[in-house]
């Protein structure tokens, strides 16, 4: 249980969880991310905002090496997770992704039961020694995903039969089931209605007590509501990065100001 001790220590002094230095991403000849330096803190919600096509998703996907699945994608620079380079040759992306979970734009539960959706990650990583341990993990994860009360009576029902908002919370529960340290969310609310969005936002705020959360959003209100740090991307550059309050009230860069006031879209 050395996880617990680390959690307690981290509450007072916010460690740097991910440190990205001079990151470049190319899709073939397209230079999608240019020279991005960013420090993501533990137990913090960091929001990535910016006009569409500016590279938010691309950068987010570098953080758990999901870009590896795109043949033409090439990443340069250093991304350190707890001081270790995640693009090191010795790093297996499979292990990395268990530590850095991801929630996608469109809710994508497996076409399996709710139970199996959540149990899949722990199963393949061997986190449970027996059925009752697995049951425990599933329940704990569904509770953290704030969906336990809604589904506890129908764990055998297909995950795809839930409403959009429930599906997205199920996906969050699935992501936390592997005990990740960082949660990446790529526009997790863009396919949801306002009520479901509010529920997910509330959940993100709760998740902050345990995880470092990085959320891409196209809604500035959302960024303002849930995040403590905000990064503004524009045309592949990180234009401004700082406290959310400061970015929204007193941006340094004129491009940030134009975007926030609605002049670049």
């Amino acid at each position: 249980m050395n996880d617990m001790t680390r959690v307690e220590r981290a509450v007072d002094s916010k460690d740097i969880k991910i440190n990205a230095k001079k990151v470049q991403v190319y899709y073939g000849a397209t230079h999608a991310i240019k020279d991005v330096d960013v420090e993501i803190e533990d137990k913090t919600v960091t929001a990535f905002i910016g006009p569409s096509g500016c590279g938010k998703s691309t950068f987010l996907r570098c953080l758990n090496r999901m870009n590896d699945t795109i043949d033409i994608c090439r990443v340069e620079g250093d991304i350190l997770l707890d001081g270790e380079d995640i693009y090191d040759k010795r790093v297996d992306p499979v292990q990395l992704r268990a530590k850095v979970g991801m929630v996608f734009q469109k809710p994508n539960p497996f076409p399996k039961s709710i139970y199996d959706n959540v149990a899949y990650g722990p199963r393949i990583h061997g986190l449970a020694r027996n059925k009752s341990e697995l049951d425990e993990i599933v329940e704990k994860s569904l509770r953290r995903g704030a969906i336990w009360d809604e589904v506890k009576d129908r764990l055998d029902a297909p995950g795809t039969g839930l409403s959009g908002g429930q599906q997205q919370r199920l996906c969050i529960a699935r992501a936390v089931a592997t005990e990740p340290e960082v949660l990446l969310m790529d526009e997790p609310c863009s396919a949801l209605d306002p009520i479901a969005t509010a529920q997910v936002e509330e959940l993100i705020d709760e998740l902050r007590s345990r995880y470092s959360v990085v959320i891409v959003t196209h809604s500035m209100q959302q960024a303002a509501r849930v995040s403590q740090k905000t990064a503004f991307f524009h045309l592949g550059n990180l234009v401004e990065f700082g406290e959310t309050g400061q970015i929204f009230t007193n941006p340094v860069d004129p491009r940030t100001e134009s975007y926030i006031t609605g002049r670049i879209g």
Partner: protein, 443 residues
Amino acid sequence: MTDASMQSPETGRHTISLTATDERTQKRARAEKRFRSYGLAAIGTGLFFLVVLFTSILSQGLPAFQRTVVSVDFTLTEPQRDEAEGTLFKTKAYSNLFVTQLSKELSERGISVDFDEAAIERLLGKVGGTIRSFYAENPGKLNEPIKFDLTASSRVDGYFKGRVSRDTIQDSRFLQKSDLDLVDALEEAGIIKQAFNWPFIIGADSGVDNPGGAGIGASVVGSFFMMVVVLGLSLPIGVAASIYLEEFAPQNKFTDLIEVNISNLAAVPSIVFGILGLAVFIQFMHLPQSAPLVGGLVLTLMTLPTIIISTRASLKAVPPSIRDAALGVGASKMQAVFHHVLPLAAPGILTGTIIGLAQALGETAPLLLIGMVGFVARGYPDGFLAGFTEPNSAMPAQIYTWAARADVGFYEKAWGGIIILLMFLLTMNIIAIILRRRFERRW
């Protein structure tokens, strides 16, 4: 509504009633109606030809499932046996005994007809030989009445089925006009009748002048062993190749080349595969000729492109979000494919495989080139492994051989064989549909 409502009184603005269609709308409606009738006509034409096809297949092929049999009670005593065995022409002696007993039985029923041993031979083939070998094998059955079911010759069968009539018959060594009196008498006595033709279903091919004895069973077995080879090779190879190409292979010139070649292979005429099989498997690798193993190998080559193309299509149809989801929780690429993508693609893969197998089952040309012609199917293989290597034919090749033979009795057998082949294909297609329904999942 009346016209009054069309004119709004305050503004005086003229509004067009929805109940009156204008010129453009009418034109569109007419165009749509025309298109529908074209569609219906097309479907109607298709259905018409289907009905014609099925009625002709059924009307021509169903008689093959009926045969004409003569069932006679025959008793052979021991002294009779010993006497017959003492003569020079032993089977002829047995034939004569048979003739005597048959005419006695007929006259007991008050029917008198004159016939000799030669007439019986024209009707029933070599009866004497059949009886003699029966008693040689079962000496214990002497002195008691035994029921012999003897298949009537193809001409007599044709007389019952309307192929042969008194007016058209020409005296020949196969059948003479006078023989028909005997046939009528036997029918009156209830000795000759129509029965279900089991020998057609379970039997093997017969000689060119014995259409009555021809059966499709042996070539069904040949087809079965070929399908075992095809399924056992093309499903694993095809699925593995598709998964590799679709999920793992890098996109480059080399994989592009492979892709183009697979698509082209699917369009190569089957006879090309046949001659390839002859050159490579038989002449170069010295595998046995006419063997279902070789037939299966050739058909595997033909089926692989079909399976690969349909498997890749069904892998492509699995939404990428499922792969992302699996990779996102830390599954390896292989786990993502085998745990999530493959189960979702399975119905499509199964359907493609069964359609590929059905194509292979109906393929004739390449089998003729490697020697799996119909007349090779003279019996069942001894045992399971021998089924792969012993010379045999396959259903379509057997049908082709029968259709090419001179005797019209074989023509009927060819149509009957087609009914059997179609039944197998229909079953396979129904299985494909059931599997697809059962495994289909929504996401």
